[in-house]
């Protein structure tokens, strides 16, 4: 099964880190994603630019509405993701729990919808 590991953290936590601390966490992320590849579960993953660079698009009554944001009301925002191929939720939880941001923010694990096999 495939699981989306969504990484939520507070951008302020990152801003308030010293250069050295930030480099430390980046190093942990490199090692973490290397370990995911090594375990054979890595499918895809990226860090996202901050919410201040986000743009929201809606179609209403046929008209396209483009707005700046959203700026999350909660302090934690989606900051990145990994797509993993795992045997079970337990395996996905194990990998999610080792993500450096598990300590700094929170990680949401969501199964990817499985399309029924065509016969």
């Amino acid at each position: 099964m495939q699981y989306m590991v969504l990484i939520y953290d507070d951008p302020k936590v990152w801003q308030e880190m010293s250069e050295g601390e930030r480099n430390g966490v980046m190093g942990e992320y490199l090692a973490y994603s290397e370990s995911l590849r090594h375990a054979g579960v890595y499918v895809d993953g990226s860090q996202l630019e901050g919410t201040q660079t986000a743009t929201t698009v809606r179609l209403r009554d046929g008209a396209r509405l483009v707005t700046d944001g959203p700026f999350a009301e909660t302090r934690e925002a989606l900051g990145g993701y990994f797509l993993l191929e795992c045997e079970s939720l337990d395996e996905a939880i194990d990998h999610a729990g080792r993500c450096p941001s598990a300590r700094l923010g929170s990680i949401e694990v969501r199964p990817i919808v499985q399309m029924p096999a065509r016969t």
């Binding site: 045997e87 337990d90 096999a117 016969t119």
Partner: protein
């Protein structure tokens, strides 16, 4: 048995969890397993009254449920090729059990318990699933036990089973290193069920023995499956020791009788003996008693005391201290304050309660105010006691508890 319908119910109640667990392991689908065992129940209701209860009901149920599951999968075949593979697998891996003795049927209930109590499920869902799939209670029975309505319970079960399936929750016993955390959830779910029966959180009557009895049955199953696990043994001991006082805890009118005022001849000695033995066994298995072992030890001190006056209160205070070191909790702190007041006098108890008040703990819990009122009444400060009883009455949800507090309030008013 003379009443075949009652025999069907009794046998299914005992065998439901094991049959569901075994079928789930082979089919990988809890929903299908539950439906198949329910089908077997319908068949038994129709046939046992005429044919009699089979020699090995367990083998009969598993075999009939297996056949029904295969039928259901074959009917689904037009939709999915996968179903046919599963049906074949069920035929191959699960030979009919009709000719084997009960013990040859593997017991997969531990997997089922851990799956129903998976941390990815909300606590309410863990409780409902365990009651349905492991204990084999009907939706109507669960709704009654949890003081909920049937459609809410049914919906909770459907959502929980969907999450297990869609999120890919594995059907297995956790790895050794995860057992302590995961077992803690299983134990808390069983104890939650027990407490629903012990003091109904809402409603009128004080206790519902059936629910507490079901929790004890689950505790027995867990202990049989994990015979060397001290906390599983201790939880059963704790429940038995509480349950032993069930007839003494309320009077004929259903009103609360305090531990000190209980008629000890109404205590169930058989359950007390078993509870004391199990407490000792749990303590022997570990040098570091867990929270259930400590709670069972406290209950054991109460059970051994034949008269309220000679209860070893200092020992109880020491056990509460150990419990607080293990898992700090304001409710435990409050219980410790009561025990402390029994050992050192009401003023000492009141000082301990004041520390909780200062910390802002349990401000909306009726027990904090009731305890404060009791201690003030013991100190002869009736007016203050009355005010706190009134506050406790406002906050209590259970009718029997409220009426008990009203009687205490009337007593301090009469005495002042």
């Amino acid at each position: 048995m003379t009443d075949p319908a009652a025999a069907v119910d009794r046998v299914f109640r005992t065998e439901f969890g094991r049959a569901v667990a075994l079928l789930t392991r082979v089919l990988g689908d809890i929903d299908l397993a539950e439906d198949a065992v329910q089908d077997a129940y319908a068949t038994a209701v129709a046939r046992w009254p005429m044919d009699g209860v089979p020699d090995s009901p367990r083998a009969w149920i598993v075999t009939v449920a297996r056949n029904r599951a295969i039928d259901r999968l074959r009917r689904r075949r037009t939709l999915e090729q996968h179903s046919e593979q599963l049906a074949r697998r069920a035929e191959v891996e699960m030979a009919p059990f009709e000719d084997v003795d009960d013990d040859a049927i593997p017991d997969e209930r531990l997997r089922l318990m851990f799956t129903c109590c998976h941390p990815a499920l909300a606590p309410e869902a863990q409780v409902a699933l365990t009651m349905r799939l492991v204990a084999g209670l009907t939706v109507a029975e669960i709704a009654r036990a949890l003081l909920s309505n049937e459609s809410a319970v049914a919906q909770r079960l459907v959502r929980a089973k969907r999450k297990l399936r869609v999120a890919g929750v594995p059907f297995r016993v956790p790895r050794d290193e995860d057992i302590p955390d995961r077992l803690a959830i299983v134990l808390s779910v069983i104890y939650l069920v027990f407490n629903e029966g012990y003091v109904a959180t809402g409603g009128d009557g004080l206790r519902r023995d059936d629910v507490a009895g079901e929790a004890i049955r689950l505790g027995r199953v867990l202990m049989a499956l994990m015979p060397d696990e001290p906390e599983a043994i201790a939880l059963l001991a704790l429940m038995l020791l509480h349950h032993s006082r069930r007839r003494a805890r309320a009077d004929a009118g259903g009103e609360i009788v305090l531990l000190a005022d209980q008629d000890r001849s109404l205590w169930d000695e058989g359950l007390i003996d078993e509870g004391l033995d199990l407490t000792e066994r749990a303590l022997r298995l570990t040098g570091a008693p867990g929270s259930y072992a400590l709670q069972a030890s406290i209950a054991a001190v109460h059970a051994r005391s034949l008269v309220g006056d000679i209860t070893e209160w200092t020992r109880i205070v020491a056990l509460y201290d150990a419990l607080l070191r293990l898992a700090p909790s304001p409710v435990v702190d409050l219980n410790r304050a009561v025990a402390h007041s029994m050992a050192e006098g009401p003023q000492a108890g009141l000082d301990a309660v004041q520390r909780l008040v200062d910390a802002g703990s349990l401000a909306d819990h009726h027990l904090l105010h009731a305890t404060r009122a009791d201690l003030l009444a013991r100190l002869g400060r009736a007016d203050q006691a009355a005010a706190y009883y009134a506050r406790a009455i406002e906050l209590a949800d259970n009718g029997a508890e409220r009426r008990f507090l009203e009687r205490r309030l009337a007593a301090v008013k009469a005495g002042s």
